[in-house]
């Protein structure tokens, strides 16, 4: 039984349809991440769940109660905003207590609740300060405290990490994850950052132009992207998209019949010979031969020109080129290879995903 249901939500602003019938379900205690590029409608959807922007049609159901027409304050939700939205004229303590005050909670109890939350988030020493006296990370924590103190049915996060610097972002990300694991709160989280989505979610929804592209666990989204958009959007560097043609149980790559990779029959069985396909292969599935997992069933060795080498410290990304088509490989850091050389890459085809270039959908 799902705790949060989003039923055929549509939103039109003027003639512009921003949400085109969204259906999502989330179980109690789940961590749902809405991810997508700018303008995909993810923030609009979050605002609809919060009640800040009424949908044109469709329903939001929380714990069996239709809340679509309820005022935001009556939905029993809490929200952490991108800018944190801390009231600048109030101290941290007053900020956290404000929602309780609005609900008529008595002062003594308010103070006790604030203390408890401050302790959980380790911000007790900041309670008397004003938001302007806090660092970005501290503000973020106060914003979470303001949400936590309410003990709402659903927490909403609107890109809460986008205003933090890279190092802090990783730290706070881990804190949010720990918070979820400890409190078993039900969370809906919006981000454009696919790494955040992967690390935090129990369930990811990829959105594009107001439509759900795929719903799944992080592993499903990453390993079995439903279409070219999801494949390209999730993962960095992006998945390699290699043009190919079905040919006798395998796929001829790079427009060159000379380079043919054998594919598991499950992939090619239903495809006629000569059918054009796109072979999706993550960079970590293309490596130097020394890194290939011995359990892998089908591996292809393909020689290519090296055009660029990008060491990152932990790995080295190598760009290879065959017949005008480029791909990125993730090799071990101490690989000795230089642009201009030829190099034999190992393609781990167990990880390959095949897409139909016409429909852009994955072929199973």
């Amino acid at each position: 039984m799902s705790f949060l249901e989003i039923k055929d939500i549509r939103k039109k602003i003027g003639s512009n349809e921003i949400l085109k019938g969204i259906n999502i379900e989330l179980e109690k205690g789940g961590f749902l991440v809405l991810v997508g590029p700018s303008g995909c409608g993810k923030s609009t959807l979050l605002n609809a769940i919060a009640g800040l922007l009424p949908p044109s049609s469709g329903d939001i159901v929380i714990d069996g109660q239709v809340v679509t027409d309820l005022h935001p304050s009556k939905r029993d939700i809490a929200m952490v905003f991108q800018s944190y939205a801390l009231y600048p004229n109030m101290t941290v303590e007053e900020n956290i207590a404000f929602a309780l005050e609005m609900r008529g909670v008595e002062k003594a109890q308010r103070e006790a609740e604030v203390k408890k939350v401050a302790k959980t988030l380790q911000i007790e020493h900041l309670l008397k300060r004003r938001p302007s006296q806090l660092s970005g990370g501290q503000r973020q924590r106060v914003a979470m405290g303001r949400a936590l103190v309410r003990q709402p049915r659903v927490f909403l996060f609107d890109e809460p990490l986008s205003n933090l610097d890279a190092k802090l972002r990783v730290e706070v990300r881990a804190e949010i994850k720990a918070l979820h694991q400890n409190t078993h709160a039900t969370i809906v989280y919006v981000t454009h950052d696919q790494i955040e989505a992967m690390t935090l979610a129990t369930k990811i929804v990829v959105l594009k132009e107001g439509q759900v592209q795929q719903v799944g666990t992080p592993a499903e989204i990453y390993n079995r992207p439903a279409n070219l958009f999801v494949a390209d959007f999730m993962g960095s560097p992006a998945m390699n998209m290699l043009k190919g043609k079905v040919s006798g149980g395998g796929i001829a790559l790079f427009g060159n019949d000379g380079i043919k990779v054998a594919m598991p029959p499950s992939v090619t069985a239903n495809l006629p010979d000569g059918k054009e396909v796109i072979l999706g292969l993550r960079p970590e599935a293309i490596t130097d031969s020394g890194l290939v997992d011995p359990k892998v069933v089908s591996v292809a060795q393909i020689e290519a020109d090296v055009t660029m080498v990008e060491p990152t410290g932990s790995d080295t990304f190598v760009t290879g080129r065959i017949d005008g088509a480029s791909f990125t490989a993730r090799t071990r850091a101490d690989l000795h290879v230089a642009p201009g050389q030829k190099f034999a890459f190992s393609f781990n085809l167990d990880k390959a995903v095949v897409f139909d270039p016409q429909t852009t959908q994955r072929i199973d």
Partner: protein, 293 residues
């Protein structure tokens, strides 16, 4: 941005700087001269004014002209000085400023945080109202004040100034609240605060600067107004500016320039005081009213 060009030779640069300072000082003297002449004239005796030099310092400074302007000078037929008119202006300016500022704040709040279809047109119409020549509403207003029995009354002037100040106060607060993050209002809504609670608890406490700017702007404008005063409030109810003009342009009796100047200084004091105390906000207010939209 400051353009000091380091590539110019030192001699040239020095000459340029001498020129700059010289020009600025000469201009500053020119700008100060009328004020100086007003002050020194007000401290001179009539004989000294007639016989002496306008620019000369008073030989025997005396505040008798000030005393006379305040309590004895003849405006029209009554010779009780300008003090009554000074208080008229005070009684007019304080309620008019407070009411128009409060309404402007509420309007700005609605027009930025509680938008509804048509809010742009409404704001546009209020904005245009700032710029109309008041001559275009003078006759109807005079008629209406007459019908309401508010002709020649401070209450009537307060009403007029509130009405024709609303456009500006709304503009100031709208522009200020436009930059106020919507997320704070959304957060307060989720926290359970309503329309007025959000205004009093979240927006108003952070509106200090714009409140000061608006009050100064309104205060200077209303205090300095002449047209409404002379059109709607003659005689006893005249504001300070009208009384000053009556005093200065009256052609009966001996022309007492020192008293005229003292009265002018009284008329200028409140706004000059505001300018000296809160000059920074004063400038910001003028600019806010100037760089519209």
């Amino acid at each position: 941005m400051s353009a000091g060009n380091e590539t110019v030779s030192a001699g040239q640069a020095n000459a340029a700087r001498y020129f700059i300072y010289a020009a600025l000082i000469v201009l500053a003297v020119v700008y100060l001269l009328p004020l100086y002449v007003m002050l020194s004239t007000s401290l001179k005796s009539l004989d000294e004014i007639r016989g002496g030099d306008m620019l000369a310092l008073p030989k025997a400074p005396s505040i008798s002209a000030w005393v006379k302007a305040w309590g004895e000078a003849c405006i029209g037929v009554s010779c009780v000085g300008i003090k009554g008119y000074f208080w008229n202006s005070i009684k007019m300016v304080i309620p008019a400023v407070l009411i128009s500022t409060l309404l402007g704040a509420l309007n700005g709040y609605v027009l930025t945080k509680w938008r509804f279809p048509g809010h742009k047109i409404i704001f546009g119409m209020m904005l245009f109202a700032c710029f109309i020549p008041f001559q275009a509403v003078l006759i109807p207003m005079a008629r209406l004040l007459g019908l309401m029995g508010l002709s020649n009354s401070t209450t009537g002037l307060v009403m007029v100034h509130v009405i024709y100040g609303l456009g500006f106060t709304t503009l100031f607060f709208r522009n200020y609240y436009e930059a106020f993050p919507d997320e704070l209002v959304k957060a307060a809504m989720i926290d359970g605060a309503g329309f007025f609670r959000i205004f009093w608890r979240i927006l108003l406490p952070t509106s200090g600067p714009i409140i000061v700017v608006t009050i100064i702007y309104q205060f200077t404008n209303i205090w300095n107004d002449f047209l409404f005063g002379v059109s709607f409030a003659g005689g006893e109810a005249s504001p300070m500016t009208v009384a000053l003009n009556n005093l200065v342009s009256s052609s009966t009796g001996v022309k007492e320039y020192n008293v005229d100047m003292a009265a002018a200084i009284f008329a200028a004091l409140p706004t000059l005081f505001v300018y000296v105390v809160a000059g920074r906000y004063f400038v910001r207010g003028l600019m806010a009213g100037a760089v519209k939209g």
